[in-house]
Amino acid sequence: MSTIFIDNETYEAPDGQNLLYACLSLGLNLPYFCWHPAMGSVGACRQCAVKQFKDEKDTRGKIVMACMTPAAPNTRISIEDPEARQFRASVIEWLMVNHPHDCPVCDEGSECHLQDMTVMTGHNYREFRFLKRTHRNQDLGPLVNHEMNRCIACYRCVRFYRDYAGGRDFDVFGPHDFVYFGRHTDGVLESEFSGNLVEVCPTGVFTDKTFRQHYTRKWDLQTAPSVCVHCGVGCNTIPGERYGMLRRIRNRYHHDVNGYFLCDRGRHGYEFVNDSRRVRQPLWRPQPSEPLRPVATEEMGRRLETLVADRSKLMGIGSPRASLEDNFALRRLVGPGRFFQGLAARETQLLRSQLEILRQGPARTPSLREVELSDAVLVLGEDLTNMAPMMALALRQTVRQQPLRLAAQFKIPLWSDYPVRELIQDKKGPCYIATPLPTRLDDIATQTHHAAPDDLARLGFAVARALDARAPEPPELPPATQALAGEIAEALKTAERPLIISGPSCGNRALLEAAANVAWALCRGGRPAGLSFTAPECNSLGLALLGGEPLEAAAELLGSGQADTIIVLENDLFRRAEASRIHALLEGARQVIVLDHLANGTTEKAGVVLPAATFAEASGTLVNQEGRAQRFFQVFAPAGEIQPAWRWLARMAGALWHNLDDLTVEMAGALPLLQSVADIAPPADFRIAGQKIAREPHRYSGRTAMTANVSVQEPKPPPDPDSPLAHSMEGFHGIPPAPLNPRYWQPGWNSVQAVNKFQEEIAGPLKGGDPGRRLLEPPANSTTSYFAEIPRPFAPRPGEWLVIPVWHIFGSEELSALSSGIAELAIKPFVALNAEDAERLQLKEGDPVSLTMDGLAEPLPVKVVAGLPRGVAALPAGITPPLVRPLPGWGKITKGSPE
């Protein structure tokens, strides 16, 4: 800390930072636009001007830009200086020259940083009497709306899109007061992070197109702290609701996880909550041949009691997309031995391996922020942009770590963004990407390596061997692979914070084990290696922590006659295994009870369907790929009969738990690994000054009118026995403990930038500590031995292809694919072939072929993918309609459509 003077008061400022950062960290109000806490200073907007004085005697001073001036010891500035104030008001006046004067009817109004800063500077009278310049807007696709006339040219969008996120199809064009931010022509933004423009833009140039379709003012949104359910990274979010409809998702800052950003799937994948296919009341099928019929909740409750009366015949199938609490409630109802994971054996096994490697090995699983700070990376098998998008964004920062050392050498502060970028140019730190197919991260790779999954694992084993002679050696390694392994080993060994990333997306356990060997070899060589695995779903790791056998074992139990009633929790089993096997399983049961949000193939087969709350309608805990347990809270009380799954299960179990805390506490007691889950958020009876925390802003409008069409009596706010949050505008509106924070708002700070006020230091931890708890740390003295089961080199089979899954950010995840915007961008079915293989079969892009696997033929168009290994084909995974095959597996490809 260094002492600085602001308006003759003494302050302790963080070291090595600029004055804007220091002022904001100290809680002072200083307006700004172009500076962004994640992207540093560039000095373009000139909004954060302050007056700097040489010393106490200097009375004249000079105007400087706070963001471009180091907060060096004894720096003396004035924010309140009249000239500085006048200059800052002038900057707003200039920005308003061309900005529309339509705040009351502008959709950014009420959460517009420009609006806030205008009020902060005091500029309020328009003197510019000439015409405004106008621009043509572009169609940027289904997610982001473009309204260039609002632009104040802060350059944040282009800096985020290109410099931070590595996008290429967006730029700044044109000179002087006609600068234009967009694409060279209309078209869908290519970046998977384009939605962040909505929050990065300080005004309404870029707005959420999905939100515009069911728009409401920020002050009319009921919000709660939540966690994204569309992949395993666990980004923190703020969903907003009005009139029972989920309207949008915004970033909820988390220092260690997602920082200031979200991926487009996470931001725009929420519309399934409002989908017409929602199950909204209990359904009952009187006879197997009859359709499902609605039943009143009370009546259903009684029937359920009968159905589950004989516990000895129950079995439960859990889900990686249901919360820990929901899964535990099911496990408790049916008993641990009758609780199954709801995944096929291969996936269960992969998840188990992941967990065991992280629990027993010496390598630590890093947070996303630690991924960003790593300085050498090996990616084994994962297409991160599609499996864990935010990790891909982090990796774009990771590769800057080694070059950034140059800045220190040249004494350029890291916050001074452009000088740093000019100095390091396109230098990148070591990043080796070994995947079956080319990935969207290949442009940052030191080297890419495309091979069949087994061969990728062999590369990993070879790297481990090159690091530690005690690690097993893969035989018959081609010299080029051997040389690459040596190069990778050298890069990892000489790094300060090396990182290995792998995951289950290839369906190959050897890859996980190879990654573990590399990380462990580094650890044993004294390097603090990180080991990060992706997780396919929002609670994959949580499910692994609860244990349970795969679907195959469930079928066995049912077949043995020891069970006759299956309870399926939030899981469309037809996505997990071949349809024939799922049919056999569900048809073999006397009764199938399904709890889920939406009608799907599994609910079709059920005798009882119970409407289960989505993440937005329930509270619970998810464990992300890092092993971090995070609590999400009910955003709104669902209409009608929808209830959190665990409540339905509690009822079946005989009203076991009064509220979520009871359940969580029991779970924490029952499973030592989940011990700290009960403490990750304050309990339901937590109060601040006797108050619950209000989910609705104090400006929430229409409270007394919104249900007046039904009754003029204002309804009582729905109770929430499960959390300290209230479904009301009455309650605490200040800064609550971070896990309970429903929105970012502070007086004068109506935009997302209000987060400044919630952080201990700008871009640092949230006040009172970031939410969530890490459940996995390496043991103090790990004695695990290296994995020694090295696969044989991949051998193409004549006339057959090894078909591997290919995941896509849009379309591969079940729930987000139901959102209109995501659906529009979703990957379409295809079978990908290597160019040579395609040529040999005389196939070109788009030609129809028939893919036969496991005796089932599927007509598909061909996609030619350069870089795909010979003898390997790729099939989109997780898409709707599902192409469920045991992937990877062997298949035959024939020209033309099947008979």
């Binding site: 000079k62 002038s90 200039w94 020259v97 000439f130 000179p175 040249f410």
Partner: protein
Amino acid sequence: MERPLTQFIKADLSMLEIGEYERAGGYQALRKILREWAPKQVTETVSQSNLRGRGGAGFDTGMKWSFVPMGPDAPRPKYIIANADEMEPGTFKDRYLLEGNPHQLLEGVIIGAYAVQADIAYIFLRWAYKLAEKRLQQAIAEAGARGYLGRNILGSGWNLEMHLHVSAGRYMCGEETGLLNALEGKRATPRAKPPFPPVSGLWGKPTTVNNVETFCNIPHIINHGPEWFRKLSRSRNGGTKLFGVSGRVNRPGLWELPMGTPIREILEEHAGGMRAGCQFRAVIPGGASTEFLGPEHLDVPMDFEAVQQAGSRMGTGTMVVLDDQTCPVGMVQNLEKFFARESCGWCTPCRDGLPWTARVLQAIEEGQGQPRDLERLALHTKFLGPGMTFCALAPGAMEPLASALKMFRADFERHIGEKRCPWREGRGA
């Protein structure tokens, strides 16, 4: 009187080819330093000559070169760049040197490159200078053929490649760091300093950027010594200077004269005085981005310090004369329109303040001025000043306006009061 820079430029303005240049003593300075001098000695000699940059800012050339990291640990490659993006309104001095004697520039750049031990040299040329482009191409080819460029120059073991880069044609490309971005293929926006180009410039490497005229002085300083160079001048700044005059004078043109030649002498002896029927009112002494000087300043010697003391800047040393038959508001409006158009759009005051200024001036000139407009203009001259904006473009643009508001206040007020431009009707409209 010695005119080292222009002495060999032919009267018919055809190019001095390499043979002619060599016969006139060309490339002797290069031979001399490669044979006898260490790089440091070159820089020291230039320092002793008091040569100051001729691009407008007048920074000490030797000092600029001394900032470049030297020795085996210095980052490589190092770059040296001749800024030939001459686009200041009223300025055409570099064009004369480029077209008339391109080898003189090349020799200067090569010597400069040797001084800072640069590996690659660029000539960054204004797109509109088509003839200069052709001649520079020829000169670079000729120099390469004679072993003045390329590998193992004149058997010294030292290498230098040189490239001609023709700019895309914006005023900002002439700003030192805007030029670097333009050369990297990026938008010509200025860069934040520090770091300064000698430390981290083109592609993040040490880079020296000097004006064409600055480089052209170098061979002569090497040949004749710093003392000779200092003595060429009538002031403390060393050497001669190309001075230009445009406006309603009898002989608009360009002359090489001792540094420190008084304005009156340039206007009267060389430019032939004012045209018949025209009275001198004021002059902007160094290109469009300098303040007006009035009749009381005619005896100010043209050197960096003296012009500054008089309240303006010598800039490029190319004057634009305002006479009594020309509307000062119209003249300033014309300048501000140029600067508003040439703003790169990076920082707010320049991007949005300059167009506002230009529109207010246009309104006044068209008889639609309002009394408060003068306050608005005055506020802009203050808030578009140095330190408020990201680079020097807007402060430069405000210099003629600020001085015009003082010197021609009555004319502005008359425009607003009479709701017309008095000069427009005076021209018989």
